[in-house]
């Protein structure tokens, strides 16, 4: 989950740039469908990458010695709610992961339930959209196993991850973090719901108790504080309708680049 706190800070300090904001390419982009043309490259990129990647190509896995000595905490460092504070207090004993939407058998799982399922450990690189990278070791349940156990309805197309953190405080709750991936990535062997990082329980700063790892995409897809997985056929009814918190703020839904 890649926070763009620096970006927001800069926007704040660059208030004088608001005049410039009305000119230049932004105006161009909002004009005469040029924005749509510029955005069409995203579809092309996704199709080209999927063609080259196939379904199964794996992200590189590194050695223990490659792990970053310090893994930057990004985005929300701790969800700011009474409910979350109580869960931390109770060591997440009362925490449940809800899986619902277009599934045959909706489920609620505790952290202990998840830890009983087959686990996968992978040492992978986390790439922030801003440009930095950190390598960490993740342990968790392959998402495909969970989706297999709840059974997807034929109309299922995307897995949406609802999170416990609000990255932006708004009255309507639209600042709540969420993310989504399609079923190709959902069933990819390296796509896991991680409950451990570098051999220890996931820290609050890194998304305790559960975060998504979808290794062939950028950091903002790696939703932290996941509490509900909703299977949908479109993003239309969800917040901004673009399939994610940063997607609703202009970033690409397909974050393989």
């Amino acid at each position: 989950m890649t926070s763009l706190t620096r970006r927001r800070f800069l926007i704040g300090t660059a208030s004088g740039a608001s005049v410039l904001a009305l000119t230049g390419c932004d105006a161009l982009e909002q004009n005469a469908g040029l924005g749509a043309v510029i955005r069409s490259a995203e579809t092309l990129t996704m199709k080209a990458q999927r063609l080259l990647l196939g379904r199964g190509a794996l992200a590189r896995e590194f050695a223990e010695t490659d792990i970053s000595p310090s893994f930057r905490v990004n985005g929300t460092s701790a969800p700011d709610s009474e409910e979350y504070a109580q869960l931390v207090e109770g060591k997440f004993a009362g925490w449940r992961l809800k899986i619902d939407g277009l599934v045959d058998r909706p489920q609620e799982l505790s952290l202990a339930d998840l830890k009983k399922l087959p686990a996968r450990t992978q040492i992978t690189r986390h790439d922030c959209v801003e440009g930095w990278s950190a390598i960490g070791k993740w342990t968790g349940v392959p998402l495909g196993i969970l989706l297999g156990s709840v059974g997807l309805k034929p109309s299922a197309r995307f897995a949406v991850f609802h999170c416990a953190d609000e990255l932006e405080r708004t009255l309507d709750g639209s600042g709540r973090y969420y993310e989504s991936i399609d079923l190709i990535d959902a069933f990819h062997p390296q796509t896991i719901l991680a409950y451990a990082m570098n051999g220890q329980d996931l820290a609050v700063g890194h998304g305790a108790p559960l975060r998504l790892r979808v290794e062939r995409q950028l950091g903002y897809k790696q939703a932290k504080y996941v509490k509900r997985i909703e299977i949908v056929d479109s993003f239309a009814g969800l917040w901004g309708g673009n399939g994610g918190y940063w997607e609703d703020r202009g970033y690409e839904w397909y974050a393989g680049i």
Binding site: L4, R6, R7, L10, I11, T13, A14, S15, G16, A17, S18, V19, L20, A21, T23, G24, C25, D26, E29, V37, I38, R39, S40, A41, E42, L44, T45, Q49, L52, L53, A57, L58, A59, R60, D66, S68, P69, S70, F71, R72, R125, D127, C128, V129, E130, G131, W132, S133, A134, I135, E215, R216, Q217, W246, R249, G250, Y251, E252, G256, I257
Partner: protein, 286 residues
């Protein structure tokens, strides 16, 4: 294929002829490339501004040693911009790098507003422009490469002859360039050896390096072609090399444009627009 223009009757032993210098494919791909590289540079600096540090290796973030860092800090209550290279060299760059004026207000940003696209900080928009023009740049480059090989443009115009690569010959060309003495007459029909070597370096090394180091920053492409990580030594090394290669391209363009201006801007510009290039030729009045 040459059109002859009768020169002044007072100088019957010289005539100016217009030769066909650049094919239509070369001209179109050249100008499309100018547009692409311009947008890619400015949107690239916008992207750089989101994380204005460069690292070497597979990983790199704030806590890790930086190869290059542009930032702002405060000393004696006064903010100032700086660039740090390695761990020791720091240069004050207030006004341009790290700290610059945006619409009259001091702003902490690595590259100033007038060097980024869009001018205000917007990583998402910068990425959209960058990737759209990256696609056009790649397709345009492939068209040019395909044409260059099929039409023998590369073999005929860009591959230097053995005699041109002799050190003494190269040295003479360097001295001539330094004195701003450019080839005339028959010699001006062809690129000189320095031009050929420079263009080959740009076409065969710098531009492909830009594409490959750019692709290595993509987690998707890395999964498809992990060998890229071995070639460039990691995603962060690739990001650093992307920046260095872009800097070399900027240096090339600066020299390239300077040479156009110094060697006769009208003639060289005409040759890249209409294709026709005038050379003065010695010989009997035709």
């Amino acid at each position: 294929m040459t059109e002859e223009l009768r020169n002044s009757p007072l100088t019957p032993r010289w005539r100016t002829i217009l030769i066909r210098r650049h094919s239509v494919v070369t001209r179109l791909t050249h100008w499309l490339n100018v547009l692409c590289l311009g947008v890619l540079l400015l949107s690239g600096l916008q992207i750089f501004n989101a994380y204005p540090q460069l690292h070497w290796g597979q990983y790199g973030a704030d806590a890790d040693p930086a190869f290059l860092k542009i930032g702002a800090s405060e000393s004696n209550g006064e903010p100032h911009g700086f660039i740090t290279i390695g761990s020791s060299v720091t240069v004050s760059t207030t006004g341009v790098l790290g700290l610059s004026k945006t619409g009259g207000e001091w702003t902490t940003r690595a590259f100033p507003a007038w060097l980024t696209l869009p001018p205000y900080q917007d990583l998402a928009a910068g990425r959209r422009w960058h990737f759209f023009f990256a696609w056009i740049f790649v397709v345009n480059g492939l068209v040019y490469l395909g044409y260059g090989f099929l039409s023998h443009h590369f073999r005929r115009d860009l591959v230097p002859q053995r005699s041109e690569l002799v050190p003494r010959h190269l040295w003479r060309e360097i001295v001539d360039h330094a004195r701003l003495r450019f080839p005339k007459g028959e010699k001006a029909r062809r690129y000189n050896a320095l031009q050929k070597l420079t263009y080959i370096a740009v076409i065969a090394a710098l531009l492909p390096l830009m594409v490959l180091t750019g692709l290595t920053m993509s987690p998707g492409v890395d999964a498809a072609f992990p060998v890229l990580l071995d070639i460039f030594g990691g995603r962060q090394s690739a990001r650093t090399l992307h920046f260095i290669t872009a800097s070399l391209l900027v240096a090339f363009v600066a020299v390239h444009v300077a040479m156009v201006v110094l060697s006769g801007p009208w003639n060289t510009m005409r040759s890249m627009i209409t294709g026709r290039y005038a050379i003065r030729q010695e010989g009997p009045d035709a």
